[in-house]
Protein backbone atom coordinates (compact mmCIF):
# COMPACT_ATOMS: atom_id res chain seq x y z
CA UNK A 1 0.00 0.00 0.00
CA UNK A 2 2.81 2.40 0.94
CA UNK A 3 4.77 1.49 -2.19
CA UNK A 4 1.66 2.14 -4.22
CA UNK A 5 1.25 5.59 -2.69
CA UNK A 6 4.92 6.38 -3.27
CA UNK A 7 4.67 5.14 -6.86
CA UNK A 8 1.67 7.37 -7.51
CA UNK A 9 3.32 10.41 -5.88
CA UNK A 10 6.49 9.79 -7.85
CA UNK A 11 4.57 9.63 -11.12
CA UNK A 12 2.63 12.81 -10.37
CA UNK A 13 5.81 14.66 -9.37
CA UNK A 14 7.76 13.50 -12.44
CA UNK A 15 4.91 14.53 -14.72
CA UNK A 16 4.73 17.93 -13.02
CA UNK A 17 8.44 18.61 -13.14
CA UNK A 18 9.37 16.99 -16.47
CA UNK A 19 9.32 20.26 -18.40
CA UNK A 20 10.42 23.04 -15.99
CA UNK A 21 9.73 25.78 -18.57
CA UNK A 22 6.07 24.66 -18.62
CA UNK A 23 5.85 24.95 -14.80
CA UNK A 24 7.53 28.37 -14.69
CA UNK A 25 5.39 29.68 -17.56
CA UNK A 26 2.24 28.42 -15.78
CA UNK A 27 3.16 30.17 -12.53
CA UNK A 28 4.01 33.35 -14.39
CA UNK A 29 0.71 33.34 -16.31
CA UNK A 30 -1.41 32.75 -13.17
CA UNK A 31 0.43 35.49 -11.26
CA UNK A 32 0.05 37.92 -14.14
CA UNK A 33 -3.67 37.16 -14.54
CA UNK A 34 -4.37 37.73 -10.83
CA UNK A 35 -2.25 40.86 -10.67
CA UNK A 36 -4.03 42.17 -13.77
CA UNK A 37 -7.42 41.44 -12.19
CA UNK A 38 -6.60 43.46 -9.05
CA UNK A 39 -5.17 46.35 -10.99
CA UNK A 40 -8.26 46.40 -13.21
CA UNK A 41 -10.62 46.25 -10.22
CA UNK A 42 -8.78 49.10 -8.52
CA UNK A 43 -8.74 51.13 -11.70
CA UNK A 44 -12.50 50.68 -12.27
CA UNK A 45 -13.37 51.45 -8.63
CA UNK A 46 -11.31 54.63 -8.72
CA UNK A 47 -8.93 56.09 -6.12
CA UNK A 48 -11.78 57.31 -3.87
CA UNK A 49 -12.97 53.80 -3.05
CA UNK A 50 -11.01 52.14 -0.25
CA UNK A 51 -11.46 48.38 0.14
CA UNK A 52 -9.70 48.38 3.50
CA UNK A 53 -9.53 44.87 5.02
CA UNK A 54 -12.23 43.71 2.63
CA UNK A 55 -9.67 43.69 -0.21
CA UNK A 56 -7.83 40.81 1.50
CA UNK A 57 -11.09 38.89 1.84
CA UNK A 58 -11.92 39.52 -1.84
CA UNK A 59 -8.46 38.40 -2.92
CA UNK A 60 -8.45 35.25 -0.77
CA UNK A 61 -12.02 34.38 -1.74
CA UNK A 62 -11.30 34.77 -5.42
CA UNK A 63 -8.10 32.73 -5.24
CA UNK A 64 -9.85 29.97 -3.27
CA UNK A 65 -12.76 29.91 -5.75
CA UNK A 66 -10.38 29.69 -8.71
CA UNK A 67 -8.33 26.93 -7.09
CA UNK A 68 -11.43 24.87 -6.27
CA UNK A 69 -12.64 25.23 -9.85
CA UNK A 70 -9.20 24.21 -11.06
CA UNK A 71 -9.12 21.13 -8.84
CA UNK A 72 -12.63 20.01 -9.87
CA UNK A 73 -11.83 20.55 -13.54
CA UNK A 74 -8.47 18.88 -13.21
CA UNK A 75 -10.05 15.60 -12.05
CA UNK A 76 -12.40 15.56 -15.04
CA UNK A 77 -9.69 16.59 -17.51
CA UNK A 78 -7.28 14.07 -16.02
CA UNK A 79 -9.80 11.26 -16.36
CA UNK A 80 -10.59 12.25 -19.94
CA UNK A 81 -6.92 12.41 -20.85
CA UNK A 82 -6.13 9.08 -19.24
CA UNK A 83 -9.11 7.47 -20.98
CA UNK A 84 -7.77 8.76 -24.32
CA UNK A 85 -4.24 7.50 -23.74
CA UNK A 86 -5.50 4.15 -22.48
CA UNK A 87 -3.78 4.42 -19.08
CA UNK A 88 -7.11 4.62 -17.23
CA UNK A 89 -8.03 1.13 -18.43
CA UNK A 90 -4.62 -0.14 -17.42
CA UNK A 91 -5.17 1.16 -13.91
CA UNK A 92 -8.67 -0.34 -13.73
CA UNK A 93 -7.28 -3.64 -15.01
CA UNK A 94 -5.35 -3.94 -11.74
CA UNK A 95 -8.27 -3.74 -9.31
CA UNK A 96 -6.02 -4.02 -6.32
CA UNK A 97 -7.33 -6.26 -3.62
CA UNK A 98 -6.44 -3.96 -0.73
CA UNK A 99 -8.33 -1.06 -2.36
CA UNK A 100 -11.52 -3.01 -3.02
CA UNK A 101 -13.34 -1.19 -0.23
CA UNK A 102 -13.30 1.87 -2.51
CA UNK A 103 -15.44 0.10 -5.08
CA UNK A 104 -18.17 -2.23 -3.84
CA UNK A 105 -19.01 -3.15 -7.47
CA UNK A 106 -16.31 -5.48 -8.71
CA UNK A 107 -15.97 -3.95 -12.11
CA UNK A 108 -16.45 -0.50 -13.55
CA UNK A 109 -18.63 -0.29 -16.61
CA UNK A 110 -17.07 0.67 -19.92
CA UNK A 111 -19.23 1.10 -22.92
CA UNK A 112 -17.79 0.04 -26.18
CA UNK A 113 -18.79 -1.67 -29.39
Amino acid sequence: MFELLMGELKRTWIQFIRYPAEVIAGLFIITTVFYGLFLSAQYMAGPAVGFGDRLDAVVIGYVAWTLILYIVNDIAIGLQLEAQTGTLEQVFCLRLEHLRFLSPEPSPVWRCA
Binding site: E3, Q15, R18, G86, L96, A113
Partner: protein, 327 residues
Protein backbone atom coordinates in the same frame (compact mmCIF):
# COMPACT_ATOMS: atom_id res chain seq x y z
CA UNK B 1 16.78 -10.70 -33.47
CA UNK B 2 16.78 -13.37 -30.79
CA UNK B 3 15.06 -12.72 -27.53
CA UNK B 4 15.45 -14.42 -24.22
CA UNK B 5 12.18 -13.53 -22.60
CA UNK B 6 11.52 -14.33 -18.99
CA UNK B 7 9.93 -17.73 -18.62
CA UNK B 8 6.25 -17.56 -17.86
CA UNK B 9 4.74 -19.74 -15.17
CA UNK B 10 3.24 -22.29 -17.53
CA UNK B 11 3.48 -25.36 -15.26
CA UNK B 12 1.16 -27.19 -17.60
CA UNK B 13 2.88 -27.06 -20.95
CA UNK B 14 2.63 -30.38 -22.73
CA UNK B 15 2.96 -31.61 -26.27
CA UNK B 16 -0.62 -32.70 -26.69
CA UNK B 17 -3.23 -29.91 -26.69
CA UNK B 18 -5.81 -32.14 -25.03
CA UNK B 19 -3.45 -32.63 -22.06
CA UNK B 20 -2.99 -28.90 -21.53
CA UNK B 21 -4.61 -26.87 -18.83
CA UNK B 22 -6.29 -23.82 -20.27
CA UNK B 23 -4.88 -20.44 -19.28
CA UNK B 24 -8.10 -18.73 -20.32
CA UNK B 25 -11.55 -20.28 -20.33
CA UNK B 26 -14.53 -18.23 -21.42
CA UNK B 27 -17.97 -19.82 -21.29
CA UNK B 28 -21.19 -18.47 -22.79
CA UNK B 29 -20.45 -14.78 -22.29
CA UNK B 30 -23.30 -12.38 -22.94
CA UNK B 31 -23.44 -8.61 -22.77
CA UNK B 32 -26.22 -6.22 -23.75
CA UNK B 33 -26.39 -2.46 -23.76
CA UNK B 34 -29.40 -0.16 -23.61
CA UNK B 35 -32.95 -0.81 -22.50
CA UNK B 36 -36.27 -1.59 -24.14
CA UNK B 37 -36.32 -1.09 -27.88
CA UNK B 38 -32.81 0.37 -27.85
CA UNK B 39 -31.37 -2.74 -26.25
CA UNK B 40 -28.83 -4.57 -28.35
CA UNK B 41 -26.70 -7.59 -27.65
CA UNK B 42 -23.03 -6.76 -28.18
CA UNK B 43 -21.85 -10.27 -27.25
CA UNK B 44 -23.98 -13.41 -27.58
CA UNK B 45 -22.86 -16.69 -26.13
CA UNK B 46 -19.12 -16.38 -26.73
CA UNK B 47 -16.95 -19.26 -25.56
CA UNK B 48 -13.17 -19.43 -25.99
CA UNK B 49 -10.25 -21.40 -24.62
CA UNK B 50 -6.57 -20.54 -24.87
CA UNK B 51 -3.73 -22.75 -23.69
CA UNK B 52 -0.27 -21.74 -22.52
CA UNK B 53 2.03 -20.84 -25.40
CA UNK B 54 -0.85 -20.47 -27.83
CA UNK B 55 -1.83 -17.45 -29.92
CA UNK B 56 -5.54 -17.10 -30.64
CA UNK B 57 -6.44 -14.55 -33.29
CA UNK B 58 -9.82 -13.08 -32.44
CA UNK B 59 -11.16 -11.60 -35.65
CA UNK B 60 -14.29 -9.78 -36.63
CA UNK B 61 -15.58 -6.68 -38.41
CA UNK B 62 -15.97 -3.38 -36.58
CA UNK B 63 -18.67 -3.53 -33.93
CA UNK B 64 -18.72 -7.34 -33.88
CA UNK B 65 -18.04 -7.49 -30.14
CA UNK B 66 -14.28 -8.16 -30.01
CA UNK B 67 -13.38 -5.31 -27.69
CA UNK B 68 -16.35 -5.92 -25.41
CA UNK B 69 -15.28 -9.57 -25.10
CA UNK B 70 -11.68 -8.61 -24.37
CA UNK B 71 -12.77 -6.08 -21.76
CA UNK B 72 -14.96 -8.69 -20.09
CA UNK B 73 -11.93 -10.99 -19.98
CA UNK B 74 -9.80 -8.18 -18.53
CA UNK B 75 -12.42 -7.55 -15.83
CA UNK B 76 -13.27 -4.09 -17.18
CA UNK B 77 -16.86 -4.92 -18.15
CA UNK B 78 -19.11 -7.19 -16.14
CA UNK B 79 -20.86 -9.76 -18.33
CA UNK B 80 -24.64 -10.19 -18.10
CA UNK B 81 -24.09 -13.93 -17.94
CA UNK B 82 -21.36 -16.48 -18.56
CA UNK B 83 -18.02 -17.00 -16.91
CA UNK B 84 -14.36 -16.12 -17.36
CA UNK B 85 -11.56 -18.14 -15.79
CA UNK B 86 -7.94 -17.03 -15.96
CA UNK B 87 -5.67 -19.76 -14.65
CA UNK B 88 -8.72 -21.08 -12.83
CA UNK B 89 -9.65 -17.75 -11.20
CA UNK B 90 -12.60 -15.49 -11.94
CA UNK B 91 -11.40 -11.91 -12.66
CA UNK B 92 -14.83 -10.54 -11.70
CA UNK B 93 -14.74 -12.08 -8.24
CA UNK B 94 -11.07 -12.71 -7.48
CA UNK B 95 -8.76 -9.76 -8.04
CA UNK B 96 -5.79 -12.18 -7.96
CA UNK B 97 -6.88 -13.39 -11.39
CA UNK B 98 -5.93 -10.03 -12.88
CA UNK B 99 -2.34 -10.50 -11.75
CA UNK B 100 -2.17 -13.18 -14.43
CA UNK B 101 -3.25 -10.75 -17.16
CA UNK B 102 -1.22 -8.27 -19.18
CA UNK B 103 -3.11 -6.10 -21.61
CA UNK B 104 -2.34 -3.69 -24.41
CA UNK B 105 -5.81 -2.41 -25.19
CA UNK B 106 -6.97 0.09 -27.77
CA UNK B 107 -6.06 3.70 -27.01
CA UNK B 108 -2.94 5.67 -27.46
CA UNK B 109 -0.37 3.08 -26.47
CA UNK B 110 -1.44 2.76 -22.79
CA UNK B 111 1.57 4.70 -21.54
CA UNK B 112 2.25 7.95 -19.69
CA UNK B 113 3.74 10.16 -22.36
CA UNK B 114 5.71 12.44 -20.07
CA UNK B 115 7.37 9.53 -18.28
CA UNK B 116 10.43 7.81 -19.70
CA UNK B 117 10.38 4.18 -20.81
CA UNK B 118 11.94 2.96 -17.56
CA UNK B 119 9.70 5.18 -15.40
CA UNK B 120 6.62 3.69 -17.09
CA UNK B 121 7.88 0.17 -16.43
CA UNK B 122 8.66 1.09 -12.83
CA UNK B 123 5.24 2.71 -12.25
CA UNK B 124 3.14 -0.07 -13.78
CA UNK B 125 5.33 -2.69 -12.09
CA UNK B 126 4.62 -1.16 -8.68
CA UNK B 127 0.91 -0.94 -9.53
CA UNK B 128 0.93 -4.66 -10.30
CA UNK B 129 2.50 -5.55 -6.99
CA UNK B 130 6.15 -5.80 -8.08
CA UNK B 131 8.60 -3.93 -5.84
CA UNK B 132 10.12 -0.80 -7.36
CA UNK B 133 13.62 -2.33 -7.33
CA UNK B 134 12.47 -5.52 -9.03
CA UNK B 135 10.33 -3.56 -11.50
CA UNK B 136 13.34 -1.47 -12.56
CA UNK B 137 15.50 -4.58 -12.83
CA UNK B 138 12.92 -6.48 -14.89
CA UNK B 139 12.20 -3.31 -16.85
CA UNK B 140 15.85 -2.96 -17.85
CA UNK B 141 15.93 -6.60 -18.91
CA UNK B 142 12.78 -6.20 -20.99
CA UNK B 143 14.10 -3.01 -22.59
CA UNK B 144 17.30 -4.84 -23.49
CA UNK B 145 15.35 -7.74 -24.97
CA UNK B 146 13.05 -5.40 -26.85
CA UNK B 147 16.04 -3.46 -28.18
CA UNK B 148 15.05 -0.28 -26.35
CA UNK B 149 17.77 -0.07 -23.71
CA UNK B 150 19.32 3.05 -25.22
CA UNK B 151 15.88 4.70 -25.01
CA UNK B 152 15.28 3.89 -21.34
CA UNK B 153 15.59 7.52 -20.28
CA UNK B 154 13.70 9.00 -23.23
CA UNK B 155 10.16 10.30 -22.59
CA UNK B 156 7.55 8.17 -24.35
CA UNK B 157 6.30 11.07 -26.47
CA UNK B 158 9.73 11.27 -28.12
CA UNK B 159 9.70 7.60 -29.14
CA UNK B 160 8.50 6.40 -32.53
CA UNK B 161 5.14 4.57 -32.78
CA UNK B 162 6.88 1.23 -33.16
CA UNK B 163 9.00 1.85 -30.07
CA UNK B 164 5.93 2.96 -28.12
CA UNK B 165 4.15 -0.23 -29.12
CA UNK B 166 7.09 -2.39 -28.09
CA UNK B 167 7.26 -0.51 -24.79
CA UNK B 168 3.51 -1.00 -24.23
CA UNK B 169 4.01 -4.75 -24.68
CA UNK B 170 7.00 -4.66 -22.31
CA UNK B 171 4.87 -2.83 -19.71
CA UNK B 172 2.19 -5.50 -20.05
CA UNK B 173 4.82 -8.17 -19.35
CA UNK B 174 6.47 -6.52 -16.33
CA UNK B 175 4.62 -8.75 -13.85
CA UNK B 176 5.12 -11.89 -15.96
CA UNK B 177 1.47 -12.62 -16.73
CA UNK B 178 0.18 -15.94 -18.03
CA UNK B 179 -2.26 -14.29 -20.40
CA UNK B 180 -1.53 -11.38 -22.72
CA UNK B 181 -4.39 -9.49 -24.36
CA UNK B 182 -3.32 -7.58 -27.45
CA UNK B 183 -5.78 -5.31 -29.20
CA UNK B 184 -4.45 -4.30 -32.62
CA UNK B 185 -0.75 -4.59 -31.77
CA UNK B 186 0.48 -3.68 -35.26
CA UNK B 187 -1.99 -0.89 -36.05
CA UNK B 188 -0.33 2.14 -37.62
CA UNK B 189 3.16 0.65 -37.59
CA UNK B 190 5.52 0.71 -40.56
CA UNK B 191 6.64 -2.56 -42.14
CA UNK B 192 9.83 -2.90 -40.10
CA UNK B 193 8.21 -2.05 -36.74
CA UNK B 194 5.32 -4.37 -37.58
CA UNK B 195 7.76 -7.23 -38.28
CA UNK B 196 9.54 -6.58 -34.99
CA UNK B 197 6.28 -6.63 -33.03
CA UNK B 198 5.23 -9.84 -34.78
CA UNK B 199 8.54 -11.47 -33.86
CA UNK B 200 8.08 -10.34 -30.26
CA UNK B 201 4.55 -11.71 -30.06
CA UNK B 202 5.67 -15.08 -31.38
CA UNK B 203 8.58 -15.22 -28.96
CA UNK B 204 6.40 -14.26 -26.00
CA UNK B 205 4.07 -17.13 -26.92
CA UNK B 206 7.02 -19.49 -27.32
CA UNK B 207 8.11 -18.51 -23.80
CA UNK B 208 4.81 -19.99 -22.56
CA UNK B 209 2.43 -17.03 -22.40
CA UNK B 210 -1.09 -17.46 -23.81
CA UNK B 211 -1.98 -14.62 -26.17
CA UNK B 212 -5.36 -13.34 -27.31
CA UNK B 213 -4.81 -11.14 -30.31
CA UNK B 214 -7.29 -8.99 -32.18
CA UNK B 215 -6.38 -7.38 -35.46
CA UNK B 216 -7.87 -6.25 -38.74
CA UNK B 217 -4.60 -7.09 -40.48
CA UNK B 218 -5.45 -10.63 -41.46
CA UNK B 219 -2.00 -11.41 -42.84
CA UNK B 220 -0.65 -10.70 -39.34
CA UNK B 221 -3.26 -13.00 -37.81
CA UNK B 222 -2.45 -15.73 -40.33
CA UNK B 223 1.24 -15.47 -39.63
CA UNK B 224 1.04 -15.35 -35.84
CA UNK B 225 -1.91 -17.39 -34.75
CA UNK B 226 -2.18 -21.04 -33.83
CA UNK B 227 -5.96 -20.81 -33.80
CA UNK B 228 -8.53 -18.40 -35.19
CA UNK B 229 -11.90 -17.38 -33.80
CA UNK B 230 -14.15 -15.25 -35.97
CA UNK B 231 -16.93 -13.24 -34.40
CA UNK B 232 -19.87 -11.68 -36.23
CA UNK B 233 -22.69 -9.73 -34.62
CA UNK B 234 -21.60 -10.88 -31.19
CA UNK B 235 -21.45 -14.59 -32.05
CA UNK B 236 -18.51 -16.85 -32.78
CA UNK B 237 -19.06 -18.18 -36.29
CA UNK B 238 -15.80 -20.11 -36.62
CA UNK B 239 -13.12 -21.37 -34.28
CA UNK B 240 -10.44 -23.68 -35.59
CA UNK B 241 -6.69 -24.13 -35.79
CA UNK B 242 -5.46 -21.63 -38.41
CA UNK B 243 -3.89 -24.35 -40.55
CA UNK B 244 -7.07 -26.45 -40.58
CA UNK B 245 -9.24 -23.47 -41.46
CA UNK B 246 -7.00 -22.50 -44.37
CA UNK B 247 -6.86 -26.10 -45.56
CA UNK B 248 -10.64 -26.38 -45.38
CA UNK B 249 -11.10 -23.35 -47.60
CA UNK B 250 -8.22 -24.11 -49.96
CA UNK B 251 -8.90 -25.73 -53.31
CA UNK B 252 -7.14 -28.72 -54.84
CA UNK B 253 -6.21 -27.00 -58.08
CA UNK B 254 -2.59 -26.83 -59.21
CA UNK B 255 -1.11 -24.21 -61.50
CA UNK B 256 1.96 -25.45 -63.34
CA UNK B 257 4.06 -22.92 -65.22
CA UNK B 258 6.74 -24.05 -67.64
CA UNK B 259 8.93 -22.77 -70.43
CA UNK B 260 8.71 -23.97 -74.06
CA UNK B 261 5.91 -25.32 -76.27
CA UNK B 262 3.91 -28.54 -76.07
CA UNK B 263 3.49 -30.78 -79.09
CA UNK B 264 0.08 -32.21 -80.04
CA UNK B 265 0.73 -35.67 -78.52
CA UNK B 266 1.55 -34.18 -75.16
CA UNK B 267 -1.46 -31.87 -75.30
CA UNK B 268 -3.73 -34.87 -75.85
CA UNK B 269 -2.11 -36.82 -73.00
CA UNK B 270 -2.48 -33.84 -70.70
CA UNK B 271 -6.13 -33.42 -71.64
CA UNK B 272 -6.64 -37.17 -70.99
CA UNK B 273 -5.49 -36.58 -67.39
CA UNK B 274 -8.18 -33.90 -67.00
CA UNK B 275 -5.81 -30.94 -67.09
CA UNK B 276 -6.21 -27.79 -69.17
CA UNK B 277 -3.23 -26.65 -71.17
CA UNK B 278 -2.65 -22.97 -71.88
CA UNK B 279 0.50 -21.43 -73.39
CA UNK B 280 3.26 -21.98 -70.78
CA UNK B 281 0.73 -22.96 -68.14
CA UNK B 282 -1.37 -25.96 -67.12
CA UNK B 283 -4.32 -25.96 -64.73
CA UNK B 284 -4.90 -29.28 -63.05
CA UNK B 285 -7.60 -30.35 -60.58
CA UNK B 286 -7.09 -33.97 -59.78
CA UNK B 287 -5.38 -36.47 -57.53
CA UNK B 288 -1.80 -35.84 -56.48
CA UNK B 289 -0.72 -39.20 -58.04
CA UNK B 290 -1.90 -37.93 -61.42
CA UNK B 291 0.04 -34.73 -60.83
CA UNK B 292 3.31 -36.67 -61.07
CA UNK B 293 2.14 -38.32 -64.32
CA UNK B 294 1.48 -34.84 -65.59
CA UNK B 295 4.93 -33.66 -64.55
CA UNK B 296 6.43 -36.69 -66.33
CA UNK B 297 4.66 -35.60 -69.50
CA UNK B 298 6.31 -32.21 -69.27
CA UNK B 299 9.82 -33.68 -69.20
CA UNK B 300 12.29 -32.22 -70.17
CA UNK B 301 10.69 -28.76 -70.37
CA UNK B 302 11.97 -26.44 -67.62
CA UNK B 303 9.39 -25.87 -64.85
CA UNK B 304 8.95 -22.30 -63.59
CA UNK B 305 6.63 -23.07 -60.69
CA UNK B 306 4.09 -25.56 -59.36
CA UNK B 307 1.57 -23.89 -57.07
CA UNK B 308 -1.42 -25.33 -55.25
CA UNK B 309 -4.32 -22.95 -54.83
CA UNK B 310 -4.32 -21.86 -51.19
CA UNK B 311 -6.96 -19.71 -49.56
CA UNK B 312 -5.68 -16.92 -47.37
CA UNK B 313 -7.28 -15.76 -44.16
CA UNK B 314 -8.64 -12.63 -45.83
CA UNK B 315 -10.71 -14.67 -48.32
CA UNK B 316 -11.88 -17.02 -45.56
CA UNK B 317 -12.77 -14.12 -43.27
CA UNK B 318 -14.79 -12.36 -45.97
CA UNK B 319 -16.66 -15.55 -46.94
CA UNK B 320 -17.58 -16.25 -43.34
CA UNK B 321 -18.45 -12.71 -42.36
CA UNK B 322 -20.62 -12.23 -45.45
CA UNK B 323 -22.34 -15.51 -44.64
CA UNK B 324 -21.38 -17.07 -47.98
CA UNK B 325 -20.00 -20.15 -46.31
CA UNK B 326 -20.20 -21.91 -42.95
CA UNK B 327 -17.63 -23.89 -41.03
Amino acid sequence: MTLELPSFPTTHFASNASELTATLEVHHLRKSYGRGKKRFEAVRDVSLTIYAGEVLAFLGPNGAGKTTTIKMIAGLIRPDSGSVRIAGLDPHQQARALKQVGAVLEGNRNLYWKLTALENLDYFGVLRGVSSRLARQRGSELLKQFDLLDKRNTPVQKLSRGMQQKLAIAVALIHQPRLLLLDEPTLGLDVEASETVKTLVRQIADAGCAILLTTHQLDVAEELSDRVAIIRQGQIIAEKPTRDLIQQFSGSTYQIKFEGDLDENRKQAIAALGAMAHPNQITFSGKSTQLYQLLDLLKPLPLVEVVKDRADLTQIFLKLVRGEQHV
